[in-house]
Amino acid sequence: MSAVITASRLGKRYKTSVALDDVSFQIEPGRIVGLIGPNGAGKTTALKAILGLTDFTGELNVLGYDPRKQRDKLMGDVCFIADVAVLPRWIKVSQAVDFVANVHPRFDRKKCEAFLARTKLQPNQRVRQMSKGMIVQLHLALVMAIDARLLILDEPTLGLDILYRKQFYQNLLEDYFDENKTIIVTTHQVEEVEHILTDLMFIRDGRIVLDADMDAVGERFIEVMVNADQADVARALKPIDERQVFGKSIFLFDGASRATLEGLGEIRRPSVSDLFVATMKGTYA
């Protein structure tokens, strides 16, 4: 199967800054890609370009469409949750379902109603009467009932409590995702998504600084917990990060030999958030 998204030399410049600096990447079907980067790194711009919401330079192909010219058709196959609270505040649950059911050819009303039945949402309830968590439940119910090939989530759980956040990703995995679908998610709550991601993309200052699947990440990056007496040996191997815990040093290596590192101390797979912090060092300095 061909790639879901192919971007080559994607660029976007604002008056004072560069949001995307000739970025190229490819996303295959059946993946869950985490697009992760500091504030202002260009994540949202990249997603907007994919959704045809903004103009850009370079080439971009999403599901065979050019998002600049064929946005209406593209949106038949792509779903999109920006962040919480972009549902219009005046709309009622029943109106939202009616509307999407009638304008979206791939919407399954029964499925949506089944999802809604699992929540406390009432058909007559308006969005303005809902909590953030309930709004995202409604949005998710609408989106999961659409048989789309690409789902884009931009900070979907911002401001939700932990129950809603857990439930959100659980629903996505259990009731939505399959090998024909692709999900791209940006979030700052890295810990919550890292176990569901199949691919990781780090973006910084408009450039992609890491683009790998999770297995490759596990091969490439290794964390070693080293006793103080071995610390200088470890430092000589040029770790990309070092931090201290309980009198021991934890070093993070990129592409070092596993065998060498095993000799220094206990090795383990780094968490995505530690990797992120190490990669983005000095971003705001």
Binding site: D55, P88, F99
Partner: protein, 329 residues
């Protein structure tokens, strides 16, 4: 997908988009005319009661001895048609108040139509659906120039009928035969004239709807200020430098044909009131009808109307473009 299903899909989308507009703006489209009509009737009833009470207190009782009935019986055909004409005016009078309300509703609806969802970012939800920006803008135009006027006219007709009924019932207390009186009025002609005026209104309002929608789609904040300040500011500059002199036209021409058209054409009747030919004389000489379609539709023969339509379509094309590419959510 072949062209036929694509066309059906587009029509279906526009239908649901218009429905969506109605859901969101039921307050302005439906309740505003209903409440206005209700207040109008209430004021009428209060007026009648006051008149009755004052009349009774001062010992005046019109037609107590069936006098009024005799007056009507003694009328000739010409007098009777005048009575009918007066009753029609009573029916129109309800509409008079409603069109002012409709003008305000349409004005502010257009200003917010492509702006409010950008401000609260719900545009991101609407744009996540497979609906073209052209359909979206078109649905707003239909809501402003067809849906809102139809509701206002229907409410106006109902209120007008009730008004007529109240008058008839009041007079019946004074010995006048209700049905005879009602037969003199022409409620169906009134309805026909009002409904027939809607397409004319839509055409006349086109430049203002286009201008307000393009401001709504373009401005990053305060669309009202931009929509008013730009034409008025231009008008002042034109006056100051006497630019119209270059075309051998008075400055007033610019104000009347550009500034006022861009802002006030959404008020029904303005076309016939200050359109260039003043086609409707509100004092109808032969007592037929003030809003006879044969009279009002003279406007359709004026270049004013059609130049405005062309300008309106161009402005709407601009609004669609801004809706597609304005990137600030």
């Amino acid at each position: 997908m072949n062209t036929q299903t694509l066309k059906n899909q587009t029509l279906n989308n526009v239908y649901w988009l218009v429905k969506r507009e109605y859901w969101e703006h039921r307050g302005g489209f439906f309740w505003a005319p209903v409440i206005t009509g209700g207040i109008f009737l209430l004021l009428n009833i209060m007026g009648i009661i006051t008149a009755e009470v004052l009349g009774a207190r001062n010992g005046i009782n019109l037609g107590a001895s069936g006098g009024l009935q005799h007056v009507i019986a003694d009328m000739d055909a010409g007098d009777l048609s005048q009575v009918g004409f007066a009753l029609d005016v009573a029916m129109y009078s309800a509409m008079g108040l409603l069109v002012v309300v409709l003008g305000f509703v349409v004005f502010f609806y257009c200003l917010g139509a492509l702006y409010d969802d950008r401000r609260d970012r719900s545009i991101l939800f609407w744009k996540s659906l497979p609906v073209s920006d052209t359909s979206t803008v078109l649905s707003k135009v239909i809501s402003a120039t067809v849906l809102a006027p139809i509701i206002a006219v229907v409410v106006g007709i109902v209120v007008g009928m009730l008004q007529l009924l109240i008058l008839a019932v009041t007079l019946s207390f004074h010995g006048v035969n209700v049905w005879q009186l009602l037969l003199l009025a022409h409620p169906f002609r009134v309805m026909f004239n009002l409904i027939g005026y809607i397409p004319l209104y839509a055409l006349w309002a086109a430049p203002a709807v286009g201008w307000l929608l393009i401001c709504s789609a373009w401005s990053r904040s305060k669309p009202f200020l931009w929509a008013v300040a730009l034409p008025v500011g231009t008008g002042l500059l034109v006056a100051w430098f006497g630019i119209m002199g270059l075309f051998n036209l008075p400055t007033a021409w610019f104000w009347k044909n550009v500034v006022l058209r861009a802002l006030l054409s959404v008020f029904p009747g303005t076309g016939n009131l200050f359109g260039s030919h003043n086609t409707v004389a509100f004092v109808s000489s032969n007592g037929t009808d003030v809003l006879d379609l044969a009279q009002t539709w003279h406007l359709a023969a004026t270049p004013d109307l059609w130049i405005g339509v062309v300008a309106g379509v161009a402005l709407l094309a601009g609004a669609i473009w801004f809706r597609r590419w304005r990137d600030d959510a």
